[in-house]
């Protein structure tokens, strides 16, 4: 696209506006808090506990989501059946659900007076006001992000790759594990990063379903809100926010780099004679001949 055209300038303006608006608040957090204060905030018992809890619960939730979600997404991507659109919509519903509603829904299903409350209590499992409840809430809100990405990645897979694996003696599981997953890894990693990011930031569903008990269910976002609500706690909230942002950014980058598709969120199918996104030439606006 030529920048000198009217539309080129308009698009450039829109791009600058979008990037500035999204980056500015993030930069402001780091600008507002001195590194010394940051370290000091991290030294506080409550903050450390909240961060550690966030890490533990989000890792557990993501592990569950990936372990169950990957084969589930593979099946949903491969099979065409009646009511498939309905199933896909049901999976995506938590994405557009307000977090508070998600919390209410979880209580209605798994709370002490919920549909499965009796069964869960009989099994001797405590969810409400327990760390396990946090994990459950995180799984509920984060899973759709991973599933969506994974289904799209598996759908983009060339079915002949799986057929080739089968003719070479691989059973369905080996074809899935050694061909489908590695071939779709960029899309899977992108979905994983989004889901993990969502789990780290989860607030509403956790608060309603598991409460905000320091050291048990008070994750970093809940601790930030607690700090923010207490007089003079804004700086502490700011410091914890900065750490959370840094952690989220690190996760996003690491996962994407491991996935091998730094900028691509789509699964890469084996398309000969076409460059994959990572090998495409950089195109700087106006720099093209």
């Amino acid at each position: 696209m030529r920048l000198r055209s009217g539309f080129g300038l308009l698009a450039l303006g829109a791009a600058v506006l979008a990037v500035t608006f999204l980056a500015l608040p993030v930069v402001a957090i780091f600008g507002d808090v001195s590194p010394a204060r940051l370290l000091e905030a991290l030294g506080e018992e409550g903050s450390r506990e909240a961060l550690w809890l966030s890490l533990r619960t989000s890792v557990a939730a993501i592990a569950l989501v990936v372990a169950v979600g990957t084969p589930a997404a593979y099946l949903l991507a491969q099979r065409r059946f009646r009511g498939r659109a309905l199933v896909l919509t049901a999976i995506e519903l938590p994405l557009v659900m307000p977090p508070a509603v998600a919390g209410i829904a979880l209580l209605a299903a798994f709370g002490p007076r919920g549909i499965f409350g009796g069964v869960i209590a009989d099994a001797g499992v405590e969810l409400v006001f327990e760390t396990a409840g946090v994990v459950l809430a995180l799984v509920f809100v984060a899973a759709p992000f991973f599933l969506r990405g994974a289904i799209a990645a598996f759908e983009a897979l060339d079915p002949r790759l799986l057929e080739a694996a089968r003719t070479l003696g691989a059973g369905p599981f080996r074809a899935f594990a050694t061909v489908a997953v590695p071939s779709a890894r960029a899309g899977l990693a992108a979905g994983l990063a989004l889901a993990w990011g969502r789990a780290l930031g989860e607030f509403g569903a956790t608060l309603l379903f598991a409460g905000s008990l320091q050291g048990v269910t008070q994750t970093a976002p809940l601790a930030i809100f607690a700090d923010f609500s207490r007089p003079g706690g804004f700086v502490a909230a700011l410091a914890l926010s900065a750490v959370l942002i840094a952690a989220a950014a690190a996760i996003l980058l690491t996962v994407k780099l491991l996935g091998g598709g730094a900028a691509s969120s789509r699964g890469r199918a084996d398309v000969p004679w076409r460059h994959t996104s990572s090998t495409a030439l950089p195109s700087w606006p106006g720099g093209e001949p």
Binding site: T167, G169, G171, P182, D270
Partner: protein, 357 residues
Amino acid sequence: MSAAGLRLKACTHLRGFELNVEFEVGRGRRLALAGPSGAGKTSVLRIAAGLLRPKRGRVALGDTVWLDTAAGIDAPVEARRCGLVFQDYALFPSLSAWRNVAYGMRSRRRERRALALELLERFGAAHLADAAPASLSGGERQRVALARALAAEPSALLLDEPLSALDSATRGGALHELHALLGELDVPVLLVTHSYDEAAVLADELAVIDRGRIVQRGGAAEISTRPASAFVANFAGAAVLRGEASPERGLTLVRLAGGGELRSTDAAAGPVAVSVFPWEVSLQREHAVTGDSMLNRLPGVVSSLTPVGNRVRVALETPQPLAAEVTSRSVEALGLRPGSRVVAAWKATATRLIPLS
């Protein structure tokens, strides 16, 4: 028929027509299913490999029944172990070339790299062992795909348009490499192609398939000289002769196996397949006085006359069977009938050479 031959009989509905085929390929034999695009060729390969289940059918390798819809037998793809080389090769993008080759190996894990390198070496592709499939050219992909299929010690080799993903410059070389390779295998080979020349060079036997049915089966010469229908005549273009080429004063001289000489404007040396379209070949009476520009003349005896629309396909007993296509009017004018002695003549410029070494 040797014990481990591949027998296939299938009947199923494809887009817009019924597929109904039956054939067998012996061990070490090569059958080409040749026909236009959309004739159902690839579906036959998929049925053999187990990737497509026909409505009714039976597939067996020797005494092992892979599919018998009547008896409810349907062996899974991985149990059949057909080496299937896909049209676009379907290399695993996340694995390097040698790991692609090693994928289906049955040998012990630590021996696999050495074995893969050995196979790649045989295909002249050992230097590509660590390359990613995305970085390979079409010809290189083809070699890796063939090596991968063979590394799995397949019970049968199935090739889907093995040369169609290659550009025309690469195709000639790949054709003769494939020809040499297929000659060494002792499993049944079933290949699918829309190119009659490829089929004639690569296979011992051809089955011409049109809209789901095998309309004629036989050797390349037989099909070219005695087409069963106008469709086969149009599809089965060139007669393919074998010979030994050597350069001669700006042209190429080909000494045909069994006797006779030809000249071609194509450059080649060593064993070649010569392809001549029947409609390029004109017929003259023996001892006719000629003064034309045709360099190639082969005397022969008319063995059969097959009307094809308003033309007649004339089969000639020359050292190697040759076909000419002439008008019915010319047949009358020359008084052609089986047993007539004629001279087949065509230009060196209409003589295509396919190197086989």
